[in-house]
Symmetry: C2
Subunit: 600 residues, 2 copies
Amino acid sequence: MLRTHTCGELRLQHAGQAVALCGWVQTIRDKGGILWIDLRDRYGVTQLILEEGVARPELFEQARQFGREFVLRAEGKVAERAAKNDKIPTGDVEIRVERLEVLNSAKVPPFTIEDNTDGGEDLRMKYRYLDLRRSPVRRSLELRHRMAQQTRAYLDGQHFIEVETPVLIKSTPEGARDFVVPSRMNPGEFYALPQSPQTFKQLLMVSGFDRYFQIVKCFRDEDLRADRQPEFTQIDCEMSFITQEDILNTFEGLVKHLFRTVKGIEIADLPRMSYADAMKYYGIDKPDTRFEMRFTELKHHSTNLPSQETVVDLVSGKNFPVFEDAELVVGIAAKGCAEYTRKQLDELTEFVKRPQIGAKGLVYVRCNADGTIKSSVDKFYGEAELRGWAQAMGAGPGDLLLILAGEANKTRKALAELRLEMGERLGLRDKSKYSCLWVLDFPLLEYDEEAGRWFAMHHPFTSPKPEDIALLDAGSLGAVRANAYDMVINGVEVGGGSIRIYNRDLQEKMFGILGFSREEARRQFGFLMEAFEYGAPPHGGIAFGFDRLCSLFGGADSIRDFIAFPKNNAGRDVMIDTPATISDEQLKELHVRVATEGKK
Amino acid sequence: MLRTHTCGELRLQHAGQAVALCGWVQTIRDKGGILWIDLRDRYGVTQLILEEGVARPELFEQARQFGREFVLRAEGKVAERAAKNDKIPTGDVEIRVERLEVLNSAKVPPFTIEDNTDGGEDLRMKYRYLDLRRSPVRRSLELRHRMAQQTRAYLDGQHFIEVETPVLIKSTPEGARDFVVPSRMNPGEFYALPQSPQTFKQLLMVSGFDRYFQIVKCFRDEDLRADRQPEFTQIDCEMSFITQEDILNTFEGLVKHLFRTVKGIEIADLPRMSYADAMKYYGIDKPDTRFEMRFTELKHHSTNLPSQETVVDLVSGKNFPVFEDAELVVGIAAKGCAEYTRKQLDELTEFVKRPQIGAKGLVYVRCNADGTIKSSVDKFYGEAELRGWAQAMGAGPGDLLLILAGEANKTRKALAELRLEMGERLGLRDKSKYSCLWVLDFPLLEYDEEAGRWFAMHHPFTSPKPEDIALLDAGSLGAVRANAYDMVINGVEVGGGSIRIYNRDLQEKMFGILGFSREEARRQFGFLMEAFEYGAPPHGGIAFGFDRLCSLFGGADSIRDFIAFPKNNAGRDVMIDTPATISDEQLKELHVRVATEGKK
C-alpha cells in the first residue's frame, strides 16, 4: 500500500507514530510561517501541517504549487493539534509533514467538491466522477452497499438461494416497452432486456429451488418522468410451498432487518390495510401513514367499494349544488389549522385546482378555538350541520376541515394530494421517521377505458383469491380480488408481489381475459404454461425497488444519488455521451438499418 | 408454510413427531400391502410409507394414481425405518402417511429426473426447468450461490464497496463485438451492453472510492465456441493507492477464502511465475501446475524470450534435417512411460499432427528400465547424445522423452498440448486437486500480423512497467512488459488484471500505438482521459470469470451447469425460444428496419 492509514483513521493514540497518507487536497491555508493542507479520502479528512523552522523550506515551495484536488502522498509524524476540531473524528491530530509526493495534479474542478456544491445538475452529471467525490453522494452509495450486503445476509440466512437469471431474453407485448438487442447470429431476430425476471423466477420454483432471490438490473423503455431510470435494480424474490402469510412475514422480516442493521432502528410489526380501506381512508393505494388525517366521507352514493360501515349522508337536502350533484363528499381535519389566513386557504384552493390535481374547488370549515364555527358554505349549512361534520371527522376547537366533492375516484385522488400537502405544511412528513405497512387484497384486474379492455393490476401471473374465483367465473371481473400485496413506507410503494397462478388452465383463462389469443399466449408464454404441467408447486413472491428503498433509507427525495452513474430524463448518460451512433459496418453485421425518417 | 420440515431434515430424533412435507414424487414402489413414495425437494429425499391395515384404504387408492414428479403434500408421523438406508441422511426414518394432498399433477417428464439422466443436451435445455431439478445441476447452482456470498463477505470485510455500474453504455470499437440496443428516445442512436465495467471502475477510482467490487453480468457478441456464453458474469474489482504486490496479496486472499469456506481446503501461498518462464517451461501462459513435466529445450536459436540460462544445443551437427532446420527443439519427460506400445506412440504422433495442434511429427526416446536407451532417431543420434538429452530432461530409467521441433512459438504451443494430453493419460489432472499460481509480467503489446498493427495484450488501459518505459519510447514495442497478471488454477485462467495508466499523456500515447487517431481516442474515451486530469490516483484491479471459477470449484469441465439458464452455441435460449422476431410497430418506434438481405 502507498499509505499506512486512511485519512479517517488517526486519533490521539497514534501521536508520535510515523505514517503515510494518500488523498486529495481539500483545502490549503497558507499563513506564511505555517501551511495547512486538509487531505481527503473516502474515509475522512486529516490535517497536514508544515511549520517554518520545522519542515524543510523546499517542502513549503513544493506545497505552494498544489491546487485543490491534487493527489498527494504525505509522510510524517502524528502530533496532537494545538487547536482541536471537534467536528471531525480526526480533529485531535495533525501530521507534521516530512515528505510530500504529488501522485497526480488536477485542473481546477468545474464545481466545488463540497457537501453543498455550486455545480448544477447538468454539470454534476457530466463530471459525475467528481460529483461522486462529494460526501453526500459517497455516503448514499455506501448506504446502498450496506443495504445490498444486509439484504443478502438476511435472505441467505433464510435459505434463499441467489440465482442469476438471463439478461438477454424475449420481448413480450404485455407491460411497458422493452429494450431490444438485435442478434447478429440470428438475422432479423432480437433479444429483449428483462423488465423483471418474473417468468424465470417462476420457472425456478417449478425447478424446486423453493426460495430464490436476486438483486438484479431490470429495464423499461418508458418516457422518463422525473426520478425514473431506464435501468433500475430490484430485490427479486420467490418462494414455494407458502401462503400469502408466509411471504408477508418473511419480507417484513427483511425490512426489519434492514432498519435494524443499516439504520439502527427497531420498527414495529407492520400494520395491514386492505386496498379498499386504503382507498377509502387515504384515497390512494400507498398511504403515507406517518400521520393520521384519515378521510371522512360525508356522503357517498357509490357502492363500488366494500365497506363495513353504513355511509351517513350529512350534506344532502340543503340545495348546495356542488354537494347535491356529487357522488362523493369527503374531507380531512387538519389539526390546529383553524387560524389559517385567507391567503393560506386560497393557496390550498389553488393547489387542488391545479390541472394535475383537478378538483373544482375546496370547501373549508374553521372550528375556531373560541368554540365558534365558520365555513365557506355558510349560505347553505347552519351551525348544527357544520358541527355534525366536525364531529364525524373527529375535529375539535382549533381544527380546520377541508372538504372536496365530485366523482368518487377523482375526488379521492385529489384529497389524497391535499392530505399529503397538509402533512408537508404541518411538518408531519419527517424524513427521519418511518411508517411501514402492508396493503393487501388488490383488485386482480382494472379496466382501461381508452384501450377498452381489462389489464392485470399487478401482472398476468397473479392469482385471484380462491374465494373470488366464483366472481371471475361469473364475469364480475372488477370485483375479483387478487392475492397481491404491496409494502408501503412513508407513502412510497417500495415492494409488491403476489401469490402466483400455478395451474395451466387458470393461466390460459387469465391470458384470455387480458385479450391474448390462444396462439399469442402460447407463442409468448407457452414455455411457462407447459412448465405448469410438469409439477409446479404453489408459489409466490415479491420484488422491491432497490434504488427507491435506498433513497428512502437515505432520507432523500430522489433516487439519482443512490445510483452511481444515472441517466438523465432523455435516457442519456451525458458523461460518456451515450446513446450514440454506431458504424455502418456494425449495423450491417447486425442486419439492421437506421430508419429515422429525416429526424436525425 | 405448507410444510413443517423439508425433505432433507428429518432424523431418528424426530421419531413420533407429526410433520407435513411437500415435494415431488421421485419414485413409487407398490408391493401390494405396502406402498413407498420417495418425496424429493431441494434439501433431500424422504420416504413416505403407506401400510395396509395402518393407512386408510382410500389413501392407497389415491396414491396409486400418482405419477413421477407429482407435487404432494403429505402429513403423517415420523417413524424409525425397519430397513435403514445409510446412503441418504434421512435414511433412518420414514413418514407414516395419514393425509395426502396433490398440490399439482405432472405429465411424464421428457427425460428422467435422476443424477444420470437419459436426456440429451438439447432436450435438457428445452426443458431446463426440469433439468434444474436434477441434483448435480442443483448442487452446481448452490455452489455458485455460496461462492457469490463468500466473495462478497471477503471483499466487504476488506472494505471494498459494491457499486453497480450501468448496463446501457456506449459501443467501443476496441476488443470484441458489442451487443447494441437502439434508443427509442434518441433516433438513430444506440446503447451498447458492457463487455466489462472497465472504464466505470476506473472512474470510481478517480472518484475516490478506493476499493470497488461488483459481481456483474458482461456481454460479448462473439461466435460462440464451446463453453462460451454471450452473457457471462465477472467478479470485477479495482483498488487505489496500491502496488501490484497489494493486488496480488488481496486477491490471493480472496481465492484462499473461497477454497476455505466453500471447499474446506487450505491452499498454500500462490507461486509466481513470469510470462516468459511460463512460455519457456510450459509453452502456455496458463500452465496446469498440478503436475511438473516441464519443457527442456535441447536447442533454441531464438532470443525472443529473456532467459537467465544459457541455451545448450544438444542436437545440431548430426544431419537430422528436422532438428537442423528447427528454431526450437524442446521436449518433455513422461515418467514411467518407456514401455508405451508402438500403438500408444502412434496415437501421440497422430495427436500432435492434428491440424489444431499442427506439429509435423514426434520424436521419442525410450529410457528403458533395463538401462538401455532407444529412440525414433537412432539413425542420427548415438547412445551418448540420447543419454545427454535424458540427463538434460531429468529423465531416468523407465521414462519416455517426447520431443518436438520447429518454429519456436508453434512448437511450444504443440508441446503444451501434448503435455496436457500426457498429464491426462497419466491421471495427473485430478479435478479434486487444485494448483494455483500467478503469472506475471505479461508483454504490454502483441503484434497482429493479419491486422498489421499492435494490440494491447490485456487492454488499452494497462500500464507498462516503469522500467520498460524507455523501451516503449525507443519503439521496442514487443519487449515492453506490462504490470499485468493472471491467476491460473489447474491450467485455467480464472482471473486477470493490471495496474492501470492514470496519466492522460501516457494514455493518449497508448491509444496512438494502438492505431487510434487522436480524434477517435477522444470520441471514444475522452471522458476517461479528461477524468485523469482532475486528480486520478494510482490504481489497478482484476476481474475473475465467475462462471468458470464456479465450474472449477465444482470439478466440472463445462460452465453450462453453473448457469441457471444458459444459451446454446448459436446464442439461443431454446426454452423461451429467443432471439425472436419483434413487431413492425416495435421496430418503427425504435427507428430501425431489419435488413437481412433475403436471409430471413
